[in-house]
């Protein structure tokens, strides 16, 4: 069973539907025992870093997630990926989960061409930087769907794939041990995204 962590942020309908469409058993939960019993965990999320981290802290699940991330495949999606890092700088500085080294900063600050629109929203091509089982069914350069204004940096050692936006190579996918993250939404990236989720389910 794949547990999707329910901490009151974001719309989990598409994520759980996409896993079901792949024939995978899934449950949206905030029950520590269910997270412990699951084969895999997905940490979703939309919204702002600090606010989401506070909500996650409120669930009391952080110690469980940190423990389970050592034992089983763990995937953060979008803001859920950003929370995996050490720190985020959206509306002030906030501590993340520290599961992947790096920080999450304002994309707009790093763009040289200030006419480029932020949020970085839409389909961008994902260039594979480091081959990984997560890309078992994914071809280099396929398009994935992004919606975000902050991005992860100083994380070269963990970066699996990037998408170019102006001068910035946006961190698209990361891995550190059992912990994976995608800045894009695999559950909104059509067939290519479903193939990423399928590969995650087989890790």
């Amino acid at each position: 069973m794949i547990a999707i962590v329910d901490y009151g942020v974001g719309n989990l309908f598409s994520l759980s539907s996409s896993l079901k469409a792949l024939g995978l058993e899934t449950e949206v939960t905030r029950d520590a025992e269910k997270l412990r019993a699951a084969d895999r965990i997905i940490l979703p999320g939309v919204g702002a870093f600090g606010d989401a981290k506070a909500k996650l802290d409120d669930t009391g699940l952080v110690p469980v997630l940190l423990e389970e991330a050592e034992r089983k495949p763990f995937l953060g999606i979008c803001l859920g990926m950003q929370l995996l890092f050490d720190r985020g700088f959206e509306y002030g500085e906030h501590a993340g989960l520290g599961l992947v080294p790096g920080q999450v900063v304002d994309l707009h600050d790093d763009l040289e061409d200030k006419t480029l629109k932020v949020p970085h929203m839409g389909w961008n091509s994902l260039q594979i930087v480091k081959d990984d089982p997560l890309f078992k069914y994914f071809k280099d350069g396929e398009y994935v769907y992004y919606v975000h204004s902050f991005y992860a940096k100083d994380c070269a050692a963990s970066t699996l794939g990037t998408s170019q936006y102006g001068n910035v190579a946006v961190t698209g996918a990361v891995r550190n041990g059992n912990v994976w993250g995608t800045q894009f939404h695999p559950e909104k990236s059509g067939d290519a995204g479903l193939r990423i989720l399928r590969a995650f389910a087989e890790l």
Partner: protein, 251 residues
């Protein structure tokens, strides 16, 4: 770089997709769920569903359809039509919509834009505008393009973005249904005033019109209904054609 987006729009009434020209003479065309599958396989980058039903039964039918589409198709879905309150946002988001488009509801109560952006994020709120030239001004129309509000459309867009709208759909009533090309003049004016993504709507008649549209760097997406529904333009073919012209496309 980001690909430009091609977006088919499905107007749904009483559980069926309909599309007229110049907002009149609706004609029943097809089943929305089947059409959504068709467009997903043809390479549509996003789907827009407008609920143009007035009755309660029709509304329930619409949310059932939305739920079915969102359980089977995994590309971004935007939903509009009859969105007036945060409860309306909530209702369609729970059924799997990713973005919600407001039009007449925001004209009646502009505070809905800010309230929804605060609750669901800017990226979730799409401001849809029906605009027509009146007395040398780009005038905002309400109620499906039937009512002149007297409001300057460009000022309205600027206010909407300031309040938190994350994207704008600009539908030109002047070019809608005429199939003579998008309203580039109107789009350029809007692009000079706002910096959020702009979706062009109204006027697409052939593939060249999209090529022409995307020579304008500030336009992010092209939306159309009847030319896709009638299979006059095939999205897969359109995207290959545009890519051949150097437009970045997800193919």
């Amino acid at each position: 770089m980001l690909a430009r987006r091609i977006i088919p729009c499905l107007d749904v009434k009483d559980g069926r997709v309909v599309k007229g020209t110049n907002f009149e003479g609706l004609r029943d065309m097809a089943d929305p769920v089947e059409m959504a599958h068709f467009y997903n396989t043809s390479g549509a980058d996003e789907l827009v569903f407008y609920d143009i039903t007035a009755s309660v039964e029709g509304r329930n039918l619409f949310t059932d359809i939305l739920r079915r589409v969102a359980s089977e198709i995994f590309i971004p879905l935007t939903v509009g039509g009859g969105i007036r309150t945060l409860d309306d946002f909530d209702r369609v988001l729970k059924c799997g919509a990713d973005k919600v488009s407001v039009n007449s509801g925001a004209i009646a109560d502009p505070s809905i834009i800010g309230a929804a952006a605060k609750k669901y994020g800017d990226q979730c709120v799409v401001l849809s505008m029906d605009v027509k030239r009146v007395d040398g001004q780009f005038r905002l129309f309400a109620k499906g393009g039937r009512e002149d509000t007297g409001i300057d459309a460009m000022d309205w867009a600027v206010k909407g973005v300031a309040a938190g709208a994350g994207e704008i759909v600009l539908n030109s009533i002047d070019t809608d249904g005429v199939k003579n090309g998008f309203d580039l003049e109107m789009l350029d004016e809007l692009a000079s005033r706002v910096s959020v993504p702009i979706i062009a709507s109204g006027g697409a008649g052939n593939m060249e019109h999209f090529a022409e549209l995307f020579t304008h760097p500030s336009v992010d997406a092209g939306l159309a209904a009847s030319i896709f529904h009638s299979k006059q333009v095939d999205i897969k073919e359109l995207k290959r054609f545009l890519r051949g012209k150097g437009v970045e496309m997800r193919v």
